[in-house]
Symmetry: C2
Subunit: 376 residues, 2 copies
């Protein structure tokens, strides 16, 4: 994997770059649609490519490990072959899901024992087997196994958890170096900075992570309920320590405004379920603010879904029609909203890239952030 830094914004830490993987180039800053179980919910692969113009998608190790399972994924020749997505893929490590989805789990030095949320069956994730699992899934970028602390979190717990995450990181790095990719193309392992919202813990973690000299680095444990200002404070702090010549990935973030603010702090990669999850609930993100299709005001608004957007669904369907689809419980409503929102997120980072290139990112960002937060 190669990262080329092409330009840095003169008025902020925003960066314009390219990541080259075995499955293609990712222009950064980039947003990665989430394909939890190997599919971006309610969206065809063709739409991801042509309409949404996604460059890379994300898969969840926890979900893929449980279903379809490693046997099927290995037999298919990895996730790319299984789901037909030809571009780059990133998989998370399953750490976040183990903490958020399973009720019964037990943390040990060795790893985490947990029960499947599907059938209650017992499983263990360790730094070593999570590397092995991600070798089988075959994503271009794979993530270290960590503990994602909840928020709020007391200092003592956060400190102990961080030490464990760092010990696990060393074990991940070793296992990764000792093993080979399964399908003939290289994979890159990204370590994850943790430390909750404590400055000293985040500094320590960023320094340890940077010391591993990985192909790219991630920031986890944010966007878990803390105020946005604290998120930005942590991002800024950590970006000041992580190497500039490697891509920086802020995990699980966020709203369109969150994304622009974090780009200005030096983040290159994002993922979030918000465009698809909120879309399935009838919420549209647009460049002029958000639209809640559950609202009665749209019932006889026959104007295009979003006049300013680039996606075909925005020209093909009206607000009134899509509102009707949601009211009638028609699957087509969530399908349309998911395409719209993902295409909007891709438009947003494409515009951000353009404005970084033009040198006017910061001015553009301050106008956009105000508009994006309006409720239409």
């Amino acid at each position: 994997m190669q990262f080329e830094l092409k330009k840095t914004d003169p008025f902020s830490a925003a960066r314009r770059g390219t990541i080259t993987t075995a499955h293609g180039v990712i222009e950064t800053p980039a947003f990665m649609p989430v394909g939890t179980a190997g599919a971006v919910k309610a969206v065809h692969i063709r739409e991801l490519k042509n309409d949404i113009q996604a460059q890379i998608i994300l898969g969840n190790t926890y979900h893929l490990y449980l279903r379809p399972g490693l046997q099927i994924l290995a037999k298919a020749g990895g996730l790319h072959k299984f789901n037909g997505w030809p571009g780059p893929i990133l998989t998370d490590s399953g750490g976040y899901q183990v903490y958020s989805l399973t009720e019964r789990r037990k943390l040990h030095e060795e790893g985490v024992m947990f029960h499947s949320h599907i059938d209650g069956s017992k499983h263990m994730f360790t730094p070593e087997n999570v590397m092995d699992i991600q070798r089988v899934i075959g994503a271009d970028i794979i993530m270290a196994f960590d503990e994602c602390t909840p928020w709020p979190c007391d200092y003592e717990y956060a400190g102990k958890s961080l030490d464990l995450t760092h010990r696990w990181l060393s074990r991940c790095m070793s296992r990764f170096r000792e093993t080979e990719p399964h399908y003939g193309y290289e994979q890159s392992l990204f370590p994850i900075v943790q430390g909750s919202t404590f400055r000293d813990l985040r500094i320590k973690s960023a320094e340890i992570v940077a010391g591993h000299h990985a192909d790219g680095n991630a920031i986890g444990g944010l966007s878990v309920g803390e105020p946005a200002e604290q998120m930005y404070e942590m991002t800024e702090l950590v970006c000041g320590i992580l190497p500039t010549d490697k891509p920086r990935y802020l995990m699980g973030v966020g709203t369109p405004a969150n994304i622009l603010e974090n780009i200005s702090l030096g983040i290159d990669m994002f993922d979030c379920v918000m465009p698809t999850r909120n879309g399935r609930n009838g919420m549209l993100f647009t460049s002029k603010g958000t639209i809640n299709l559950r609202n009665e005001k749209w019932k006889d608004d026959f104007s295009p879904l979003d006049e300013d957007s680039t996606s075909y669904v925005d020209r093909e369907y009206s607000k009134a029609y899509v509102k009707h689809l949601f009211k009638a419980g028609e699957m087509l409503g969530p399908m349309i909203a998911s395409i719209h929102n993902l295409a909007f997120y891709q438009w947003l980072v494409r515009e951000a890239r353009k404005h970084i290139e033009e040198g006017n990112f910061t001015s553009w960002k301050s106008v956009m952030v105000k508009q994006l937060s309006l409720k239409l």
Copy 2:
């Protein structure tokens, strides 16, 4: 509306024709995907046009009347404008839904009083207001308001119901003649032959229906539980009486084999929820038989969804992947299966048209009917 009969099969009553409507030409025999609430479930308009190659879609008067309601449809300028489907549309009369969806309904000479299945609100459908409602919806082809008898049905009930349906038909025809289309293009009203599975009632009904000299004629009350042989017997009987120079529409039929058999008896138009409903349950129709994706045998079958099919989903996705999507409860599974099945139904009638033109429909049909009924 114009119907041109281009060719009749030398060995059966199968016909090849074209119906010209204000919104375009329909090549017959034709299959109409069902868009109950103004949307074909889980399918984008673009996919209906380009991938499925639907020529005409169906809307349900009962559903559209309740939601979005006539005010919205009128304000939109009719259903075509509301949902963005540019081709011909047919609406049923709501009779079937009143009988099958609502628990509390009461039949009067005047019409049917019923309670909405959505909110329990009280409504009345009469032959007159159902014509008015279908004027507002604005479909190219609209249907007479009838009573669809259940099966089995005793002779006395079927006879009395048929007389009521005929009195209602006269009222529908009068109201239709007295009113004008709302949106500047012509609409055609099709009467419906009823009479359950009683030969004398069907003969009587077909004669009365034929006597109205409508632009096209429909056969209702079949495919409601009776054995296929009885359905074919009734179709053959009625097709022998209905005029040859008008299209014949068999309502709510059916399996791929049912469609081929009824084409051979002289039917020109079909509609059925089976391709979408069964698709949403993981059942695929193919030219070699049916595939139940819930079956474990497909879990590691990485071959294309249907090697012989024309639709892009059949090349883009494997059986194992789509099986996984159904198992994981991913919306993309029903989306893929709906496109596949509708594209298959369109392929089936396209092939039927080709074989009627070539004069070898009957031989082709007997081979196909055997294959279509296999379970893969």
